[in-house]
């Protein structure tokens, strides 16, 4: 597709989508959202660029290959199991830490690390699907 409107729009919409994806990821534990939805949105941002220009363009814009993104995601998933091991509780137990940030407090926990893992895995899977469907033999 070669539409100037789409190409110009994609430059802004792409970052907007990634911003929304990250917001969805952060609010995921208690509100609608989470790693899976965030990952799909972020994957969409990359695919959107691919539609506006070309898939190879989108591929070039990515710093890492989809497989490596999947591996990073899976690594975060494993990492989220680990805090429970150090505190002696059962594997995958959610451990929460509160950070006092001025007037508000930020809750960080191992389920969030798990969500980050899902986020990256879904991005990697989604874009590798689209890239391989777009591949010409």
């Amino acid at each position: 597709m070669n539409s100037t409107l789409l190409q110009i729009a994609s430059k802004y919409v792409q970052w907007l989508l990634i911003l929304v994806a990250v917001i969805a990821l952060f609010r995921g534990h208690n509100y609608p959202g989470g790693g899976f939805i965030g990952g799909l949105l972020a994957g969409l941002a990359i695919v959107y660029r691919g539609f506006a220009f070309s898939m190879s363009e989108a591929r070039k814009q990515l710093p890492l290959s989809p497989e490596i993104i999947i591996a990073i995601g899976l690594f975060f998933v494993v990492a989220s199991f680990m805090p429970a091991l150090f505190t002696g509780s059962p594997l995958m137990k959610g451990e929460w830490y509160k950070l006092q940030l001025g007037f508000t407090e930020l809750k960080l926990g191992s389920p969030f690390i798990f969500d980050i893992g899902v986020f990256f895995t879904v991005i990697g899977v989604a874009i590798s699907f689209v890239f391989s469907l777009n591949k010409k033999e």
Binding site: E67, L74, F75, V78, S89, L91, M92, K93, G94
Partner: protein, 494 residues
Amino acid sequence: MALTALPILIPFIFIIILILVRSTIWARRIAIFGTILLLLVSVGLFSEVTKRGILTLTMGGWKAPFGITLVIDYLSGLMLIVSAVIALAIALYSTKFIDYPHKSHRFYVFFFSLIMGLNGSFTTGDVFNLYVWFEVMLMSSFVLITLGSKKKQIEGGIKYLALNLIGSMLFLAGLGLLYGKTGTLNMAHLAKILIYDQQSIFMNTSAILFFIAFGIKAAVFPLFFWLPASYHTPNITISSLFAGLLTKVGVYALFRFFTLFFIQDQQFWHTIILVIAGFTMVFGGMAASIYYDTRRILSYHIISQIGYMVMGLGIFSPLALAGGIFFMMHNMIAKTNTFLVAGMMARLKGTFYLKDVGGLFKQDPLVAVLFIIPAFALAGIPPLSGFFAKFVLIKAGIEAEQWVITMVAVLTGMLTLYSMIKIWNEAFLKKAPEIPSEKRLPAKLSLMELLPSILLGLISIAMGLFAPQIFDFTFEAANQLINPINYIEGVLNN
């Protein structure tokens, strides 16, 4: 105990590592290292089970009926060890026999995800979680079948996937019904509810759905179509991996479900199971005898041998269950080994078609010896492992006065022997037909190519020599299955 999750975590970590590794040589080394590690962990966990009883782990600290519990009892522990042995043999074998241009290293990623699904199925104590592990296995095995991207493989892969998805759907339906009726999917909790429930005869609707679903996975008569349609298509390494492991998970699930909580209405179920076991044995054995492609013969053999394991469940005495479990262990090792040898024969001769091969005994006597060991083990010749497995099953059949199935089991042994002798005559004794080959074929195989088969052959012999010791373990496994109180207490009160 946190280590209970290791059989799942180790493959998972190796998947991550292997995604990043691009070099095939390193992928192979890492895979061999990973499977050795898995074997050590499995043996360690099993020895913990023998010392401390059933191991449980509640994931995320959610107590038993609510969260997912991982449970390792004798049966799970034995299955973990045997599948780790097979994984090691396949990892060694793949170094010589997996050869895809540019993507051999991809094989190992899906190899480990298959192992992860398998170990997950063996250790989980939750019905829905079992469903998830079945799907993990289904997806990775589908990718493995189609990895070569040949037309035949895609065809076999699609058949495999379609028929197995029907099984998964029935599994899910049965699971939904079960949850609707009992409000729980934790296996121990289900058992606790159903043992004391007078109305548990209504469970038959769920039980039949589970039975068909696991029947499809285990490839029993008449639900086995997917197996002969797909097993001869992929690379022989992958066929061997599937032959040893995939169908046995279905049998494992049948053992687990029909001893733990579907124990109402025993008369009805055990008759059905025995009838199906008999048909499976005979049909698989007969179908094997008409083919001339080694892989097809061996594929039908897998089906035939599933009948024996299911027979152990159908007779339902401690002796029969112990025999069934021993048979499963012996069969996983020997069956994988026959497929490995079939791959070696094809490497030496360039084809799997028996009419076009011959004279292998003269060409490489070591391969002949390596074939004889698993073939005789499967046929049940003493002192190899299969003899003791069949002996105990038949003894249990006679003690339970199940004459028909006992006769069928004895006669199927003849069919097995017949098709093993057919392969032996055609491939090893017969004079090689004069067929000019375009490819240059090796005259002998190197030690590295033979090593995995030697390993499994030695285990088959050892299982025969140390059969009493192994039977001690399988008897304990059978006792745990027959008296599920320990399992229930272990999971719910940990």
